[in-house]
Symmetry: C2
Subunit: 412 residues, 2 copies
C-alpha cells in the first residue's frame, strides 16, 4: 500500500508552521505497517492541488490530505477532491447538526459560513470531529482511497485515533511495533558506544537513536506478519540494552521525567513541594501537567526575589549577603526551609542564572544549584548549562526532576 500525504496550507509554504501532521501520520501508519512514500505540501491553490492529485493518483494507492477543511474561502480541500474525482458535493445533515451543537456547547452562534463544513463529496464516509467543527471523510474511487483529515493537530490526532485507524488497519498484512527506551544523563555518543555491537548487527528489530531536548531515546522497531507478535522480537534486545545502560534509563515510550517522578510519588503515597527561583514555575508546571498530581503535589513557591526567599523559605540574610542568591549555601537553606514550611515528604529547590542578563565572571549565565530533599536527606548539586533562557530553564527542570527521581529510587 503506497501512501502519500498531501498537506494543504499556504502557512506551511510560508514556514509559519512545521508539518507536524505529516510527521504524526507517518509515525502512526508505520506502526500498522502502511508505507508512506511521499509527503507533498502545496498552498491553498486549486490548480496546484489538482495537479498534485493527478501525480499522487499515478504513484500511490492511498492519498491522505491534511488541512483546508475550515469554513473560509481559503479552505478548498473537499471541493477540489470532488472536482478531481468528478463527484457532486452534498450536504450531510448529521454533520450540520453536530456543528450546530458544537457551537451551542461553546455558547457561540454558528455563522452561515460554517455550513460549508457539513458539505462533502457524494458517497463519502464521514469521520466525526469531536475536537472542532470540521468533519473528515473517506472517499474511494478507481482503486484509490482518499482520506480527508483536518489540519489542526489535536483535531487530526483525535479523528485519526478514533475514526480512521480501524479502517486503515484492514489494508495492512504486517504489524510493526516500536518500543522507545527513554534515557536521561548520558550523551548520544556514550550511549552509542555502549551498544555499538547491537546497533551494527540488528535488522529486525532495528534500533534508532535520537537525541532531543537534552534527552536521548532508543527506538526499537520490529516487523512481523499479522499472525506473529513483534514484541517477542523486541523483548530480548530491550533487556540487553537495559543491562548495558543501567539507571540512566528512566522510562519507556511516552514517559516523561515528571510523569515518572509523579507516579512514583503517588504510588509511595509521598507528597512534594517545589521552591523555584530561576525556573520560575516550570518545574511545578511540569509536575501539575500530570493527571492526578494533586494527590502528591502540595505547594509551589516561586521565590524570584531575595525577599521572597527570606519570607517563605527562611533563607538567612547573612547567607544571601555572604554567598549570594545563586549559591550552594542558599540552595541548601531553600530546601531546608521548604521542607519545614510545607511539611511535605519531598522537596526540590533551585536557584540559578537563566540569563540573558545577571551573569558575572564568577557566576556566569547557566550556573544553577539544585537541592533535593527527602525527609532528612538533602543533596545539592552544581550545574553549568548552556543555551538561551528557555534552554537553561528546561535543562534545570530536567536535571532537578531526575535528581528527585533517583533520590526517591535509592530510598524506596
Amino acid at each position: 500500500m503506497r501512501t502519500e500525504i498531501i498537506s494543504i496550507g499556504s502557512e506551511l509554504l510560508l514556514g509559519q508552521i512545521a508539518n507536524t501532521d505529516a510527521r504524526y501520520l507517518s509515525q502512526e501508519l508505520a506502526k500498522i505497517g502502511i508505507d508512506v512514500f511521499y509527503h507533498t505540501v502545496i498552498g491553498d491553490n486549486r490548480v496546484r492541488f489538482l495537479e498534485a492529485l493527478q501525480i499522487a493518483s499515478k504513484r500511490s494507492d492511498m492519498v491522505i490530505t491534511t488541512g483546508g477543511l475550515g469554513p473560509t474561502m481559503d479552505d478548498i480541500t473537499k471541493d477540489v477532491i470532488a472536482e478531481f474525482l468528478k463527484l457532486e458535493m452534498v450536504l450531510h445533515e448529521e454533520s450540520l447538526d453536530k456543528i450546530q451543537k458544537y457551537f451551542n456547547s461553546m455558547n457561540r452562534t454558528m455563522d452561515d459560513i460554517n455550513i460549508k463544513q457539513a458539505i462533502f463529496p457524494k458517497g463519502a464516509t464521514i469521520l466525526p470531529n469531536e475536537k472542532g467543527t470540521a468533519p473528515g471523510a473517506i472517499v474511494s474511487k478507481d482503486n484509490i482511497t482518499y482520506l480527508i483529515l483536518p489540519g489542526p493537530p489535536h483535531e487530526l490526532i483525535h479523528m485519526f485515533e478514533n475514526y480512521a485507524l480501524d479502517y486503515l488497519k484492514e489494508y495492512s498484512n504486517e504489524v510493526i511495533h516500536s518500543r522507545v527506551i527513554k534515557i536521561y544523563g548520558m550523551g548520544e555518543s556514550t550511549v552509542e558506544s555502549n551498544i555499538r555491537d547491537i546497533l551494527l548487527t540488528q535488522n529486525n528489530p532495528t534500533i534508532a537513536p535520537l537525541a532531543t531536548g537534552g534527552e536521548m531515546s532508543l527506538r526499537i522497531t520490529a516487523k512481523t506478519d499479522k499472525n506473529s507478535d513483534p514484541i517477542e522480537l523486541i523483548a530480548p534486545v530491550e533487556k540487553e540494552i537495559l543491562n548495558r545502560l543501567g539507571d540512566v534509563v528512566y522510562g519507556y515510550d511516552d514517559d516523561t521525567l515528571e510523569g515518572v517522578l509523579m507516579s512514583e510519588l503517588i504510588k509511595l503515597d509521598k507528597t512534594i513541594s517545589i521552591a523555584e527561583s530561576c525556573t520560575g514555575g516550570l518545574i511545578a508546571n511540569l509536575l501539575t501537567n500530570i493527571p492526578g498530581s494533586s494527590r502528591a503535589f502540595k505547594e509551589g513557591l516561586i521565590t524570584y526575589s531575595n525577599e521572597a526567599k527570606v519570607k517563605y523559605l527562611n533563607v538567612s540574610q547573612d547567607t544571601l549577603r555572604q554567598w549570594g542568591a545563586v549559591s550552594r549555601q542558599t540552595a541548601h537553606e531553600m530546601i531546608d526551609g521548604l521542607l519545614k514550611a510545607t511539611g511535605t515528604d519531598m522537596g526540590i529547590a533551585v536557584t540559578g542564572i537563566a540569563g540573558p542578563d545577571g551573569g558575572t565572571l564568577e557566576k556566569p549565565v547557566g550556573l544553577v544549584y539544585i537541592a533535593v530533599g527527602l525527609g532528612s536527606n538533602v543533596q545539592v548539586n552544581e550545574f553549568h548549562f548552556t543555551g538561551d533562557r528557555l534552554k537553561i530553564k528546561q535543562a534545570t527542570s530536567k536535571a532537578a526532576l531526575n535528581m528527585a527521581r533517583r533520590m526517591l529510587a535509592s530510598f524506596y
Copy 2:
C-alpha cells in the same frame, strides 16, 4: 521564481522527525521574495528521487534539496542529481582537505567513507559546511538551479545564512514583507466576518487568517519590486483592520500575551505576583520566560491544596467550606490575600478544575475563576474551557494574561 523543496530521508517518512528544514527555508525564502510552491519528501530511494526531480523540473525554476549528504550508502542526493542532469561526479580537493581538518579538530580520524562527501557533480559551486562534514552545492542546468543542502538543521541553517543567501538574493527582483496581527478573545469566523470585504478585495497585500492554540492571527503580506517598500502597502490595510477589531488585537509578529503584559509592567515600573491553583505554575512560567522579567515579577504561589490557600493567601475556611475551592468567592479572597501578602501592584489568581478528575455536575471539568487585581481594583470572571488537562491549563493562562493586559491598559 517557483521554488520546490525536496527533502530526502526515510526518517521523515517514518515520522521520526518533523520537516523543520523545509519550514526554516520557506520562512527565509519568503523574506527575500522567493515563492515556495511545493515541499516534497521522499525516502532514501534512487528511483523515487529521480521521479521527484522529473516532476520538479517541469513545475519549478529552483529545486532545493535537504538531506542525503552523509557518508553512508543511504546518502544518495548528489549521485542522483548528477545522474538526472547527466553530469560526471568529480572530487573537490579543497573540500576533502576541509573534511580532513574538521576530523582533526575533533581529535577523530577520518574514515574512508567520508571521501564521498567531497565528491560533487561536475561544474558545481561548493558551499562550505562549517558545522559538519557535508558541504553543499549549487548546480544549474537547463535554466533550473539546484541548491543542495545538508539535513541536520544547525548545518543547514549556518550554510544557508552564510553561503546560500547572498547567491539567492540575486534571483529575486522582489521584496516580500509580512506583518502578523495577533488577536486574543475573538473566534476565527467572527474575525473573518468583521473583515470579509477586505479579505475579498485584497491581493497585494494578501491577508491570511490562522487560528492556533486559542488565538488568532492575521498575516498581512505585501510584495513589491526591489526599489519600493512593501510596508507602505501594508500600513493602510493594517490600520483599517485595527479599526474594525479594536482591543482584541494584543500585538504583532512574535508578540505573546505574556510578553506584552510583561513589557507593559516593566515600562510602567509596576510589579506583579501570581497565585495559581489549577494552572500549577504555568502562568508564572510563561511570565518568567521573558528576559528581564525579574524586574516586575516578584512572587508566585502555587496553592494547590486548600491548606496552602489558607496559609499563604488567607482564604477563609468558611469560604472554602461554603462555596468550595473553585468559586468566585475563593478567587476573590485569593486575589485580596495575594496583593496583601506580596505587596505587589498587580496580581493574578486562578482556581479551577483542570481535570480529568474532580469535576461534578455543578462544577464540571473546565470551570475556572480568574481574578485580576490592580491596586484596589479587582475583577473576577468565570470561564468554561473545554479540552484535556493541558488545554485547560493553557486556555486559563491565556485568559488570565489577557485580563491583566486589559486591566493594565484601562488604567494607564
